[in-house]
């Protein structure tokens, strides 16, 4: 049969960022998809050779606007493990709380984008209205809505008072109750079920074969979660990865909705367990220059992120590399797109939660 090539992207209504797919179609079915990335490569990893390692944290934070806190945290954790710095306990708990708040923010943003992609504009506005409250919490506690600049090598720069933490928890729990209504719509609305249910099914074997990470893998029944490794005080928190077994687009939506509720619970546990008192140490100044190399793994909202940092004892690092979750999920996306209808391609691409800025750096 004759094949047609349909270019998908770099500009497309469902894509917030420039991803390019050449879809090779036979009739309405996609038989092959060839991804191209590189439209927003900014060479941030190369900057490490001319920016001092203390200042590089601000560059790393700007890799992506949604996971910016986690990127800054990952860089600082890497440098701390190279330099053998143990950060103060309260600083570690604060990082955990901010990381979970940014996970809620990212998932709400994605749910809104997803709702917009399948044509439910009202739901999109509800999700983004809730996200706005989270951004207000960020502005109150860190000083910035998107770029937080609170992570430093050796700790964090800002503290949250105990009363502020309690108020944030109440605000988040109210938001969780409100979110339940929105989640009810996602779960029960027949048009959403029709559009997403049974579309783009990734079986557990396939997910394991292409090494999926994050919500993508958990929606296919793989209980992978880097937080289970227990680094960064996650060992003191009781939680289980949210696993769904259906593996379709709807399961990926459900996993992210359940993770929002789980993150609120993790924040509650963290606030209960963190040492109380407002006048505690938040930062330890590391001495000298770093020497050595390290791999750091973190669980970002989109999945596992890997940082490789190599330092040579000077004030400039030798190599910095971030393997982001979208990069790991692109093979799975190509696998899903092959064999699907052209009309389902936008939803399948969106449910992996692509972040092209992260992928290209």
């Amino acid at each position: 049969m004759k094949t047609t090539v349909v270019p998908f992207g770099p500009q497309h209504p469902v894509l917030p960022e420039p991803l390019v797919l050449d879809l090779i179609l036979q009739d309405e079915k996609v038989v092959d998809a060839i991804p191209t990335i590189g439209y927003i490569h900014r060479g941030l990893e190369m900057m490490v050779e001319r920016v001092e390692y203390t200042e590089m944290g601000f560059v790393v934070e700007r890799i992506c606007g949604i996971c910016s806190f986690m990127h800054g945290m990952g860089y600082c954790v890497s440098l701390e493990s190279i330099m053998g710095v143990e950060i103060p306990e309260r600083a570690a708990w604060l990082r955990l709380i901010w990381a979970e708040i940014s996970r809620i923010q990212s998932h709400l943003l994605w749910l809104g984008l997803g709702a917009d992609a399948f044509g439910f504009e009202n739901l999109f506005m509800h999700c983004w209205r809730m996200r706005e409250e989270i951004l207000d919490i960020f502005e109150k506690t860190t000083g910035g809505r998107i770029i937080h600049s609170v992570n430093r090598i050796g700790g964090v720069k800002r503290d949250m008072s105990d009363t502020e933490l309690a108020a944030i928890l109440v605000q988040l729990q109210d938001l969780g109750k409100e979110f339940k209504k929105t989640a009810h719509v996602f779960g029960t609305d027949p048009s959403i079920n029709h559009r997403l249910g049974g579309v783009g099914i990734l079986s557990m074997e396939d997910a394991a074969a292409v090494d999926c990470v994050g919500p993508m893998a958990r929606a296919s029944g793989l209980a992978v979660d880097t937080r289970l490794a227990g680094k960064n005080y996650y060992d003191r928190i009781e939680f289980e990865p949210m696993v769904e077994t259906a593996g379709d687009c709807l399961a990926r939506v459900v996993v992210r909705m359940r993770e929002i509720e789980q993150s609120i619970d993790i924040i509650r546990q963290a606030i209960e367990k963190m040492p109380k008192g407002d006048d505690q140490a938040l930062e330890i100044r590391p001495r000298g220059n770093p020497q050595g190399e390290v791999f750091t793994r973190l669980e970002q909202p989109r999945g596992e992120v890997l940082y490789y940092v190599k330092a040579n004892g000077t004030k400039n690092l030798e190599r910095f590399r971030a393997r982001t979750p979208t990069f790991a999920n692109i093979p799975a996306m190509i696998k899903l797109v092959k064999g699907s209808d052209l009309a389902d391609v936008p939803n399948i691409i969106l449910t992996i939660d692509p972040c092209i800025s992260c992928t290209e750096r």
Binding site: F58, R129, D136, E139, G144, I147, K157, T188
Partner: protein
């Protein structure tokens, strides 16, 4: 799925009819930024001792200081608002204001090639006889 005959949307529709809008009438009603929000750097020329720490530590190289001429300048469009200069300032001459500068509508370039948003201060000339 909820039974459409029981009119599940009616309470929500009534609530939406009588509740406040979720949005703000933006240009007429502007939300105050929270305390501690990072906006623009403000500088006090009276207390500065031109130690150049801020210029050295600025990740974006937005600050220019000259000790000989008593000169301090910042490019607000280059500044990333990371608060590092405020943290290192030993004389507390720098403060972070929570309000951002308005957007520039013209791109005039100064005689030394200064970009819009460029601000500079000189040390006040001492009064004669002091």
């Amino acid at each position: 799925m909820a039974n459409p005959l029981t009119l599940p949307m009616v309470p929500r529709a009534l609530k939406n009819l009588f509740s406040k809008p979720a949005t703000r009438r933006y240009p007429y009603e502007i939300r105050e930024r929270f305390d501690g929000a990072r906006g623009t750097i403000e500088y006090n020329v009276e207390t500065c001792n031109y130690c150049m720490l801020c210029a050295r530590r600025c990740p974006a190289a937005a600050i220019t200081v000259s000790r000989e001429n008593g000169y301090w300048a910042i490019e607000h469009l280059t500044c990333i608002g990371c608060n590092v200069c405020v943290e290192v300032c030993s004389k507390k001459s720098l403060t972070m204001s929570k309000n951002s500068k308005p957007v520039h509508t013209r791109a005039d370039v100064g005689p030394q090639g200064q970009r819009p948003g460029h601000e500079e201060w000189y040390k006040p000339v001492p009064e004669p006889g002091e």
